[in-house]
Every structure is written in C-alpha cells, then in structure tokens.
Symmetry: C3
Subunit: 310 residues, 3 copies
C-alpha cells in the first residue's frame, strides 16, 4: 500500500507544494473521473463550491463549476464586475472568513501574487488557487500534465518546448515547475525580453536539462510536445514592450513541417494568433481536448480536498 497521501481538507496553492508522488496520485484519481464526467455522479451531493473570481476568467470558472456539478455538488460565487463587498473596501481575509461559512471549498482567482496563500491562512475550508498574479496557476499545470500523460502515455523521457511569453505567463511557470519533477528535457522558446525569470530557471535547472532559445523553427523537430502560450497584453507594464513581441511566434503548418509525426501541440487558451486555425484540424492539435481534461482533473481535486475519494 505504501504511505497514504493526505489530501483531505488540503489547500491547492502552488504546484511547488506537491511531490512527484502526490502529483502522480492526482493524475491517477483524475483518470478514474473520466467515466463520471460522462455519466455524472453524486459523490459531492450537498456540497457547495464558491468561485471567487476577482479577475476575469471564463474557462477556469466554468470548468470548476461544471466539475462540481458533474459530481452532484452546487456552486455559488461572483465574477469580476460584481464584487460588491470589495467595492465597499473589504479586505480579502474578511471575504474569506465570510464565504467559508457558505461553502465547503473555495476557488480563488486574484490579480495579486500571494492572494491564494493568504486566503488559505484565514480559511477553515480548502482554498484552490484558480490563478493568482503572474505567479501560479496550479490546476492548469496539473491538467497540462494529465494531457501530456494521456496523449503520450508517459511524461518521463519526453522533450517538451514551452513557447511564447515565459516571463509574465503564470500557466507556463507553474507547468515548468511541475515538469521539473519528471525526467524531461525542457526547451524554453521566447523573445529575449520574455525569457523565464532567473529565480524560476535556477530552481528547475537544478533538476532537469533546460535549453533556452529564440528560434522556434530550429527546436520544433526535436520535441515531443509543443506548448504554446498567448502573449498576454494585460500583464505587460508597458504597451510598447507588448507591441514589439506581439505575434512573434505563429505556429502554422509550415512551422511543424519538420516535426515528429506524433508531436502534440498544446495551448492553455484563449489564443490569439499563436496557433494558426489551419492547425486545428491536424492530429497534432490537442488544445481543445485540454478543456475536457481540465474537467476531470478539477473533479479529482474537488473530490480529494473534500475527502470524497473512496
């Protein structure tokens, strides 16, 4: 049996809080959720999820709500524009200490780094980080890992390129940390100004082989997974800086003409023009399947932190 893993009532704040063994366990539980995602289930009947989104998100919010409902639970919450008590000047700790009385688990998205950690310190119910600042998006990293494992049958031994904005993108940063727990070779492809931050690089380079570069064409033929990201205008302090790098990588059929036949192309979405529409119909494109995988991984996480995995 081995040591039991403790997830009941646990917060999901940072991918860095999890060991490889724990992540593998989450991926395993996620797989058992696939049939429940089709057929529905009642394991979380009577439980309430609160989605507190202090920043715009369609995908993450709807995905968590659908996951909760597929397990028989229900949802309350707000999205950006409705945040009444915040307009009235309430601080995050008070919001959490109120909402923990209404819900059994809270998913928080917030523009400030550290907000989810702070919320967890005050909350009696588990906090799941639904994206905070430019720093963390652990459930996205987990669904990315799940997708890679599902599509390639494994994570160890793969060559994986992360492409685009590696400086401001929280998704790619959480994913890089997660991948550093596996035996992968990582290619980081970005313009000079959008390179992954030094402190992140330091941590992951200790564990795995990392190659940085700017030339996407050169790297494509070498990799098993190509993970593209949107260059996020809203995270740039300076619009001029954004204008310079906007659209610098555009993946089209020509880009992947020398790729391995079983290349898998991923993207956290939404995309602008990083991936040409002509790629959508290719067997390499797996970014819409990621949305489905997001459901099963979030079903697993909700079940785990609510102590409802049997």
């Amino acid at each position: 049996m081995g040591v039991a893993l403790q997830f009941d009532n646990r917060d999901i704040i940072s991918i860095k809080d999890f060991s490889r063994k724990e992540i593998n366990y989450i991926l395993e539980i996620s797989k058992t959720m696939e049939p429940l995602a089709y057929e529905g289930s009642n394991t979380l009947r009577g439980k309430i999820l609160a989605t507190l989104f202090f920043e715009p998100s369609t995908r993450t919010r709807l995905s968590f709500e659908a996951a909760m409902q597929k397990l028989g639970g229900s949802t309350i919450g707000f999205a950006e524009s409705e945040i009444a008590s915040v307009k009235k000047g309430e601080n995050l700790a008070d919001t959490i200490r109120t909402v923990e009385n209404y819900a059994d688990v809270i998913v928080l998205r917030h523009p400030l780094e550290g907000a989810a950690r702070l919320a967890a310190e005050f909350s009696k119910v588990p906090i799941i980080n639904g994206g905070t600042g430019a720093e963390e998006h652990p459930t996205q990293a987990l669904l990315d890992l799940y997708t890679i494992q599902k599509e390639k049958g494994r994570i160890d031994g793969l060559k994986i390129a992360l492409v685009g904005d590696l400086r401001y993108g929280r998704t790619v940063r959480s994913l890089a940390f997660a991948l550093s727990l596996y035996n992968v070779k990582l290619f980081l492809v970005s313009p000079e100004t959008l390179r992954m931050r030094r402190e992140v690089l330091n941590t992951i380079c200790e564990k795995i082989s990392v190659i940085e570069g700017e030339d996407l064409e050169e790297i494509v033929p070498q990799v098993d997974v190509l993970y593209a990201t949107r260059i996020q205008k809203e995270r740039f302090p300076d619009p001029a800086e954004y204008a310079k790098v906007k659209g610098v990588y555009k993946i089209d059929k020509n880009t992947i003409s020398n790729a391995k036949e079983d290349l898998v192309i991923l993207h956290p979405l939404p995309r602008l023009d990083e991936i040409s529409a002509e790629i959508d119909a290719t067997p390499q494109a797996r970014y819409f399947q990621q949305a489905w995988n997001g459901i099963v991984v979030r079903m697993a996480l909700l079940s785990l932190v609510l102590g409802c995995v049997v």
Copy 2:
C-alpha cells in the same frame, strides 16, 4: 405512427429550419411539460446547460436556466460583462470548442447575425440560438406560437397583427416566418421607416395573406391576436431615427374599445410604453402568461435536443 421526427442532438438556430410538422411536435411536447414545470422532474439530472450571453438579456437567460433546473439539470455560463476570454480576444469558435467540453447543450446570445449558425458548425453539443443580431430568436417565436395556440385553441384561421418595430425586431421576424407555415392572415402595422424588410416579406407573402399598414386603430377590430413590440433603441444605427418613431403606437383601453371580445394581446417584453398599464388587468392581456409558456417551451426544447423525450 408516421415518420419519427429527429430532434436528438439537433441545433435550434432558425425558425426557418423547421417544418410545420416539426413545430407542431415541439408545441405538443411543450404541452406535456406543463405539469413538470409545476412539480419538477429529474429527466435531465446530471446534464449541464451552458448559457453564453454575449449581449444583455435577463428574460431569456433566466427562463432557460429555470427550464433546465425544473428538469433536474444544472447550469453554468456568463452574461455580457464577464466575458473574460472575449476581452482577451478569443474568437467564438474557440469559445465553443472549449465550452462543449463543459456542457451538454449551449444557449448562445450574440450581437452578430450568423453567430449561432457558426457556433453550431464547430460544436459537438447542440446549440440553441437565444437571439442573434437583429435576425433570429427562434425560441421566442416558438413560445409565441405556443401561447397563441393555448389562448385561442388553434393557429390556423386566425387574424394576427404584428405591431411596432418590424424592421429591427428579431422576435417579430422569427414569428412572422413561423406564422407563415400556418393558415393565418397577417397584418403588419408599423411606421414607414420600420416596415418589415423586403426579403422577409417576399418569403412570407408567397405563403400567406399579408396586409401592411400604419393605422393601428383601423386594424384592431379585425384581428384575433395583437402582438406588440418594443421599438428597440439599441438596434437603431441613428438615434434621430429612433426619436421620430418612439412611442408611435400606444395600446390603451381606447385602442381596443372596438376590438373583438376575445382579442389576445401579446408582447415579448420588456415593454416601455407600447402597452399602457391599464391594459394589464384586462382579460385580453396575456403577455405575462407568455413568460410561463417560455419555461415549458424551453423545457421541451432542452429535452428534445438532449434526446430525453420519452
């Protein structure tokens, strides 16, 4: 038995996609939903409806959500101001290819004509058009038909007046197409600048008798059904044009003093001052009953496209 009608997994995009026989079938199934709307039901337990509203709507959104919940299903979605991924620049096709992973059926409202048709091309799950551009609002037309049949016992043989903005109103356009499948006499009452568009007229005049006019008083005594519409400021390209026709028809007790005793007055709501409050308490007023009928018709549509009509 006759030929079985196929609704399972079907999109509801335009009233023009349906034959008279199919519409009659929808109205029949709607009738069977009346007791379920009172008592509740579990036929859609475990199913999720996504309401994607890219344009304001209270009535249509809440009506679909209530319909889904009365059948035991649940809902996710967004309304206008929260559309995060759209702010981030996502196109509709990508939104649909994501949300189809979260939900079993999608209701879409969108400012652009053709949006629902486009969504249906990309979606694996059924798309129901909740109002697109100035062109189509098929579920409103179906609930209008249902209301007429419920109130008058039939549709064939009736004289029906559509009054107000026949140029920009999508509701009235979808309804005119629907009515042209029945043996009705249609009176179109509008100011010159708000006449029904030529291409719509061409289609319906081939099938039924249509009389256009500006004088409401003259037409009222002749009709069985008076369908009033709001002149929708938000659809006018030119505010001056709106100012000229605003309030041109106001139905009050005087207007209907010479009407048939069993006249039925309908309105898709919301109204401004097209119908005076003094009409509300008359036996002719049926526009608030339309809201209830909207629930049962939408329960029928959700059940049909999800293959849950037994």
Copy 3:
C-alpha cells in the same frame, strides 16, 4: 399548541410586519436548521429561488443562494451589472410579473426604498427583501437577533449598543425596530450628523429605554452587546460630510479594555476600519459567526415562506 403562525406564501418586507411572537418562531425554526446546514437536506428539492440584485451585494446574495442549495433547491438571478431588461427601460413591476413565472420565491435588493413592498404587491410568489434603499434589511435584523440569542442565551434584559452610522445604515435601523420588541436597553452611539432619524427614534422610544450618545468609551463598559457598523460612503449625498465622520469610531483592544468579560462584538460586514484586526482573535469577536447564522436564518425563512416547515 397555541395559535398557528401563518408564514406560507408570506412576503418578508419589513421587520415591522412581524410580532415578537412571530420573530421568536423564526428564531426557533432557524435553530432547527443548524444540523441541515451541516448535512444538507432535500426539503426544497425542485424549488427555484430568484435573486434579483439591482444593487451590489456579495454577502446577502451568496448567503441566500447557499441557504437555498443546502435545502436541495436551486437558484437563478442577476447581480447589478447584468440587468439587461432594466437597461432596456423595464419597470420593476414587469420584471416581477415575469420572474414570478420562473421561480418559487424571489429575493430582491434594490436602491429605492419601497421597492420590495411594490414588488410584493405585484408578485404571486413570496418576495423577500434583501435590502432596499436606506430603509430596510429585515433578514439581516433577524440573523442579528439570532446571533444575540445564540451568544447570550436570551435577548430580554440585555444592554445593547449600536455604533456608527445610525442615519443611513439600513441594517441598524431594522435591528433597532426588532430589538424594540424585546425588553432591552439600547445605546445609540454616533456622531451628531449620523444620529438615528427622529421618526425611528419616536417609534422605538415608546417601547424601550434608549440612550443616545457620542462617546463610545463611556458606553462600552455598560453593555452586553456592541454592534458596530460601517459608515457607508455610498449612502452619503455629500462626500464632504462623509470625510468628516469617516473613521470616527475604531474599536481596538484599548476600546474594550473596560468591557464586560462576556461582551459580544457584532458587525454586519463588510467592515473598513471600524473594528481593528487585533479584535478578530478575541473571544468577544462574533462577527464572522454571524455569516454562518445568516445561512440558517435564511434557510428558515425560505422554508417558511415556501410552506416547507414540518
């Protein structure tokens, strides 16, 4: 047995509509909801709550939604920014006469005094006032009473101070009326410009002993319950008037150094700086427990007006 109390299909508009006997009955039913709030229940399965919030609120809306879901019911609704039909110019009566067809009970928050009363006149389904104008917030008053009784074991015989904005705060006004039905001594502590309005004072002074004052320090040692309120910027006609009184009372450890040992500190939340964070961890602080009590009181109210208390 005594006389049966009638709550089935009753509106909850003003605390002034309820006798002491009726309020006690609500508090009693609330107590029976405590275990259901933990375990969940199905007594309202198939029922729909519509939350119509024409004004910002996180707390009241989420609290009602959670209460409904804990009883097995479901929810539809809108919050401030989505109010499409209102943007289109619809009046409240029409909105109510539409939504009553979608839902079994309606909670209304509205900026205008009298809005809930007006809604109740038009509605076939029970209306619960979720806060209207600066005048009424009856469900908040009920949860405040419930909290006082739970914390102190009784209401009669207590000395209670209401502190802060007694002029514009609807919470404190509804609470003062409710307390005037009990044998309490009331201290009203506010700056001169924020004193409780004359017409409110007239009514409650007839029934109970009321002492007005500006000096919080002097009053603290005398009372059993200290009820602090936020000075609500959004209710001030004149920002300069707000600036003068903002932050005038700040409850910290020093403030309560001479208080009774078993003092209970309450606040309807959200707070700004009326209560220092250092108070949060003291045994006197009970304002986050109020949020939980809000759930059980609202479960009781929903059950009562829907005729589902057995």
